[in-house]
Symmetry: C2
Subunit: 196 residues, 2 copies
């Protein structure tokens, strides 16, 4: 609620930073999420789960920043929770890293536009998800390359951390409300962007 | 969307700061708002207007900080848009200031709890509205004196300005979602607080 998508001191041993997992608490018991991580049967099947399912199903590839990858690399299970190609923005030169279940990480050294081109080729008719972190999301927003986004707005304040909408070049787009999906745990705010 | 409720450089000649009125644009054509300021007939009568009406009708008194008052004093019409007692937190000693239409401003020098006590006596069965600005809202939140709040979440980013949820003592309360009311112009996010 106070704009932070991760706490302070994030890293491989402290994924999402101090208090950061609290923001995503609503997610951890959704059926679609449990299935994605192969954490077992069960889980909630309400509107929150529908949103998670829809996002999984429409995503044909993901893009993420180096720090998000490094945090994930240390913590994702062997069957990484993407099941699609994932393009990692990094200066590191590294061979593709294939995981169980259809996730392959490709390491892109040529910037956000090349990563997007490669992701589009891989995704076919499906969408590209800019997974995070904040800096990567901001780069794509400021380049006018984001068509829509969903904020899962949790009733939590972190007080300190990494802000989602920092360093935004607000002259680059206007935002239209698509819908707000109500749930007792989290409000899903969906938007369409008009890039200039 | 990026957490600011007012822009930079706010003051009597620049109410709500640089770009700040943009956040409230949805409000300016609501029937209830036009009536409140006696700006004429007409205006929108949809869900946004229902929310404005409901907030006006349930408010028996308002509390505001000195800076909000100073901005308003220079800009409100003679018939100030409250029509209830308004308690202004200030170090200035000043006689009550009565305006047309039932608004009287009382200047409180003894802090937020005294202001709340006086407002409660005036409001009877109705609610007290903490009108703003951000610093006043934060003081009441951190004192555990807020029961519920509504954020009218506009699809606007200011980039710079005054943050609503700065300096929050997040150990003082937890927040439950009450509802999210959808509209094409603004999303009304309503919460209940559990004060500790």
């Amino acid at each position: 609620m106070d704009g932070f998508i991760a706490g302070l001191n994030g890293g491989p041993k402290n994924p999402l930073g101090d208090g950061g997992t609290e923001i995503h608490k609503w997610l951890y018991n959704q059926k679609a999420f449990l299935e994605l991580l192969e954490l077992g049967e069960g889980g909630e099947t309400g509107k929150d789960n529908d949103i998670v399912n829809e996002i999984i199903n429409r995503s044909g590839a993901s893009i993420m920043g180096k720090r998000m990858f490094v945090e994930g690399e240390a913590n994702w299970p062997e069957n990484a929770p993407f099941h699609t190609p994932v393009y990692v923005l990094t200066h590191e030169v590294r061979e593709p890293w294939e995981r169980k279940g259809g996730t392959t990480f490709y390491f892109i050294n040529d910037g956000i536009e090349i990563a997007l081109q490669e992701a589009k080729q891989a995704a076919g008719d499906k969408d590209i998800r800019i997974a995070g972190g904040a800096d990567t999301i901001q780069q794509y927003l400021n380049a006018g390359l984001v068509d829509d986004f969903t904020i899962n707005f949790s009733p939590i304040m972190l007080g300190k951390g990494v802000r989602l909408f920092d360093n935004i070049d607000k002259g680059k787009f206007t935002i239209d409300i698509a819908e707000a999906v109500n749930s007792p745990q989290v409000t899903h705010l969906r938007y369409k962007l008009n890039n200039k």
